[in-house]
Amino acid sequence: MNQEHFGFLDEYAKKEVRRATLKAVAIPGYQVPYSSREMPMGRGFGTGGLQLTLALIGRGETLKVIDQGSDDSVNAVNLRSFIEMTCPGIHTTIRTEQADLIQSRHRIPEKPLREDQLLVLQVPYPDALVVVEASEDRRKLLHGEADYSRLLVKLYEDIVKFSEITISHRYPTRINGHYVIDPSPIPRWDVPKLHNSPALILLGAGREKKIYAVPPYTQAEPLAFEDVPFRVEDFSDEHGQRRSCVRCGCNSSFLDEYVDSATGEQVYRCSDSDWCNQQLEQQQGVEQAVEVANG
């Protein structure tokens, strides 16, 4: 790779992403348009997040890339090796606490982020209003006036039909008391982590050419009713007992559900693989955990 093209994008494109990012931080939750570049992978494969990462990471900094909580999935591996290849001099890690910049799809790490860390979320659909208003011009007016009554009507209809709010991902969340964002397909579990996050959270939609932000220590309130509050996923079993991860035993993390191919039973495992590994390490001592990570 050509040293002059650190970060794959040309300097003009990187500056544009940075300018859009500054504006996004200045207007929390507002979708800032930018001229999303063609990347050597299909839009929809995290190109929005990737452009943010490429424009923001610098030599000597440490990167973590996850997809659905895992560092090892094909998408995460591909993105990580692309960034490593085009950004010589950066380090990579799978450990949340070691990363300066974390690019993620569908999850926010379980381990609380710090002020000196930056989280980049990949976004397929940036506009929370798209489900209730097809015209982008009219959506802009609604955003401008913070008129989210039609989203609330959807919640109302949900409660009428199912006695609860059934939205599982992309939960509409009001940032800093005005703009409602689509926080990307993170589970409800992760939505409270947006609120007053010490770390800057940037969201990038490549196909839709939008960048928006939840700046540090900014209010993030999921839309709900005064008497039907927002709730995260409930991992209790039929006896009201909190389920735990079959691998590490953690009973406070977001769990993925699997069917054990041997027994046919439903089992649960931490969705955040680094978290799961670190829980194991604590229990088993460091040497064994390294084996687990390598094997």
């Binding site: 401008g144 006036e145 009507v153 109302y156 409660i159 039909k161 009713f225 005064e226």
Partner: protein, 276 residues
Amino acid sequence: MDEVLSVRGLSKRYGQGCPACYELTGPRFETNLCPRCGSVVAAHDVSFSLYQGEILGIMGESGSGKSTAVKCLYFDEPPSAGSAEFFDQGEAYQLFDLNNAQQRRLANQRFGMVYQNPHLGLNFDISAGGNIAERLLMSNVDNYAQIRQRAISLLSRTEVLAERMDEMPRNFSGGMQQRVQIAKALATNPPLLFLDEVTTGLDLSVQAAILDLILEIQQQSRTSMIVVTHDLGVIRLLADRTLVMKYGRVIESGLTDQILEDPQHAYTQRLVASAL
């Protein structure tokens, strides 16, 4: 009596317009189409006052500009000229000088609109109760139980069974859809209601029941209303005062009884005679 709305010189022209538009259209020329430039002068120089608790009728044949006048006041269409002042809770609003957000706030919270076509007034993708909820949510009511309660009481007031509030509007008869539209319009207790041909196309018995409901609302809530219709019977029953429009102009106005008993304009005379 307290004035609620003061409309002065309201005009609406569709088309690029020319200096002759207003001079060469109207009842005298028996057209609303400008012969020079082809613009439609849908309404011109409409002026009236509306007082608290009053029902003002706007009557006239098809195409005379009745709906146009109301659409401008409800911000569905921008007017070409004129002013309208709305007096509410000690404030006066120059309607056409407000910005879009202010206009939408008034339309959502202080006005109600009921259209002839329920598809214009109701969202057919959400339940009857959801339609009412939408208006309440726009006014920042954010308690689910309160919204349910209010929707039930509005629907029972307009005689829609509360059991049916979670059904989709398409399941309802035309008369029921109008009742849901009226309930939605009333959701925020607006002091001003626009009703555009709300009974047109309904069975006579259904029409009578809805007209009764409108009178009851006026008497109970002292809501001011503008009722648009081409039906003399509706005017006779509802309107305290009436404007008669033709080719975009008001050709006669006054107390409804007077207009019906002693119409001044030849057109009104024929209209009244034919309805007897």
